[in-house]
């Protein structure tokens, strides 16, 4: 199961999309440079193969439950990291578009978690070092297991980080990690075993297939600065444009403080180091409270000693009146939307 849009914030989704897009463009460029665009039909067909292979279940030895192949490692072994990344990305795209397995905004995250880690980290740094040049059944087993486990654990950790940074799910970081990592250790072991079984079969039946990849040249280091540049651009955009949508109400900390103590901020003492530092901060802050500074300096000092004015509504609107009208309004809106839909369909049927 891949990440859904409902659990991600636009900032996280956008950032991961930027990283994935940069990696995709980079992989495409690398393929073109190496004249590997001839591989495109092979990549497409292998993508379809991974899809089909994922539907072949098997019983896991000790438990009796069933599992299936992931596929990133096999693709990397057969195609090399760049082509494998693009192929994995397309498999995930088809899954997201046609099977609703993973959201569109989350697609960037999913491609990163399930494509980048196996193809650009686990494969070159682990599998290739262990079993790349002279594969034997034992080395294949060792390499595939180690690479599979590492790739899946990194992917799972990526999911945890992305969900936690989005702040929509309330699962605490530690709890989520402690749930995800052991499960994905088991899945990683299974993935390693299936990969080993398949690669060993291929190595016994047609070893030249495996040799094709190892002779295609060394891996250039990833253009990290492009990835970072992309991340920087997205951060600026999300910080600038999307913050218009940021709630003007107090943030979670201020809200919970207000609920427990009746104040949104702690009152700082009038003398001593706190006061002096507070004065200094006041003078130097360019964007106090994330807004533009008001023209008079005296006004801001006055505000500091006042409690936040009660004209600011405590968040969220706790009065029962607003919530009932909100509920009624939601029902009315849905009714209206349904009626509009019916009307549109009638109108277009006639035309």
């Amino acid at each position: 199961m891949h990440m859904a849009d409902a659990l991600i914030s636009p900032a996280v989704g956008g950032t991961m999309w930027a990283a994935t897009a940069a990696l995709t463009v980079y992989s495409g460029k690398k393929l073109r440079e190496r004249m590997d665009e001839q591989k495109v039909p092979l990549m497409g067909v292998l993508g379809a193969f991974i899809f089909a292979a994922q539907m072949i279940n098997f019983t896991i030895p000790a438990t009796g439950s069933s599992g299936h192949l992931g596929g990133g490692m096999i693709l990397a072994i057969l195609l090399g990291p760049h082509a494998a990344f693009l192929t994995m990305a397309s498999v995930l795209t088809v899954q997201a578009l046609f099977f609703a397995d993973g959201g569109l905004l989350a697609l960037g995250c999913n491609i990163f978690n399930l494509g980048f880690f196996p193809c650009f980290i686990a494969y070159p740094l682990i599998y290739k070092k262990i079993a790349g040049d002279r594969p034997t059944p034992r080395r294949i087993l060792l390499g595939a297991m180690a690479a599979g486990i590492l790739a899946l654990e990194m992917g799972a950790f990526g999911v945890v980080l992305e969900t936690t940074f989005s702040g929509i799910s309330d699962l605490p970081f530690l709890t989520f990690t402690l749930i995800m990592l052991p499960i994905h250790l088991a899945i990683g072991i299974v993935e390693g075993l299936v990969t080993t079984a398949v690669v060993t079969y291929v190595w016994k039946a047609r070893p030249e297939v495996l040799e094709r990849v190892t002779t295609s040249g060394s891996l250039a280091p990833l253009p990290m600065k492009n990835v970072l540049a992309g991340l920087l651009v997205v951060t600026v955009i999300t910080g600038g444009a999307l913050s218009w949508f940021a709630s003007a109400h107090p943030d979670g900390l201020e809200w919970s403080m207000f609920r427990t103590s009746g104040k949104e901020e702690l009152k700082t003492p009038d003398t001593g180091p706190y006061f002096l530092l507070g004065q200094l901060q006041d003078k130097t802050a360019i964007l106090p409270d994330y807004g533009f500074r008001s023209p008079e300096g005296a006004e801001s000092e006055q505000k500091e000693q006042e409690e936040p004015p009660s004209s600011e509504e405590p968040w969220p609107a706790v009065s029962a009146g607003t919530s009932v009208s909100g509920l009624v309004g939601a029902l009315v809106t849905m009714l209206l939307a349904g009626l509009i839909g019916l009307a549109l369909r009638r109108y277009h049927r006639r035309v």
Binding site: V40, P41, Y201, F245, T333
Partner: protein, 288 residues
């Protein structure tokens, strides 16, 4: 299928779980193909415009606060309009949304456990923040998934690939996506024949173990590689020189721009103003 009654539980469960799944996913894909071949105003829109508008929709929906519920509801207008004007089947869409729901449900259901502060009172009943954010997650899920499914059902894989290509994705990515789609039917068919053959020859959990599956997938792989070789040779015979060209240019028309700008304005309006609250106040104000 008389053997089903006598065989122990495990293979029956396995059979019923994954055999129909392979065939039903093929059926799903062909149905999507049929749906994307319809001729409605939505289908005639430029695919780039549809992709961009859907992405803006998703971003707008996701930019809401985690406790927002009523403000999200008017966004249902976009999928409803696409469904209605595009003449797409509602029941089918809902069944696909439900199929994708379990994972999100499972993660979201933790929210009420961790967030117990009572936020709202509906009469005597106090509702905690966790339940509100859980409801918000479910609403977001329904909105985003239905928008994505409707995008594909009204655009089709070719349209989506064209849009991705024009939006900057490398040609090698979009073309191999098309190849993947085409050969998916062929390969899934082969895989389903293999699994059926295995199911008919296995008993209990014998025959469904790792070694057999390794051989099956390995065989499928070798056949796939041979097939890819034949495809490549056929393409070379027809003049493929490694460079992929596209010859049907896309044109943006005024209808497309109107669609995009109109919906963007609607999304901004619904994002900034809480329409249900206003309607609700209107409605409850009328009732004495």
């Amino acid at each position: 299928m008389g053997n089903r009654r006598h065989a122990p539980l495990a293979p029956v469960v396995l059979d019923q779980v994954f055999m129909p799944k392979i065939e039903s996913s093929l059926f799903d894909l062909s149905y999507f193909d049929t749906l994307s071949g319809l001729d409605t105003p939505i289908h005639r829109l430029d695919p780039r415009v549809k992709v961009v508008t859907t992405m803006l929709f998703i971003v707008a929906v996701m930019s809401f606060d985690k406790y927002e519920t009523s403000g999200l509801v008017p966004f249902v207008l976009y999928p409803v309009a696409l469904l209605a004007v595009g003449n797409l089947p509602l029941g089918y869409l809902l069944s696909k949304v439900l199929l994708a729901a379990p994972f999100v449900f499972f993660v979201g259901i933790f929210n009420p456990f961790f967030d117990r502060a009572i936020l709202v009172h509906l009469g005597p009943v106090g509702i905690s923040g966790g339940w509100i954010s859980f409801a918000s997650i479910l609403i977001r899920f329904i909105l985003t998934v239905s928008a994505a499914l409707l995008l594909v059902a009204s655009t089709g894989i070719h349209g989506v690939c064209q849009a991705l290509d024009k939006l900057g994705f490398p040609r090698s990515f979009t073309v191999q996506l098309l190849f993947l789609y085409r050969y998916l039917f062929v390969l899934v068919d082969e895989a389903s024949r293999m699994t059926r053959a295995r199911a008919l020859r296995s008993f209990g959990t014998r025959g469904t173990g790792l070694q057999v599956v390794g051989h099956m997938i390995g065989q499928l792989l070798l056949r796939t590689l041979d097939r890819a070789q034949r495809i490549h040779a056929a393409m070379l015979c027809r003049g493929f020189d490694g460079e992929i060209r596209q010859f049907r240019p896309l044109k943006i028309r005024s209808g497309d721009i109107l669609f995009a700008v109109g919906w963007l304005a609607a999304f901004l309006f619904m994002r900034i103003y809480d329409v249900p609250q206003w309607l609700g106040k209107l409605a409850t104000g009328l009732v004495p």
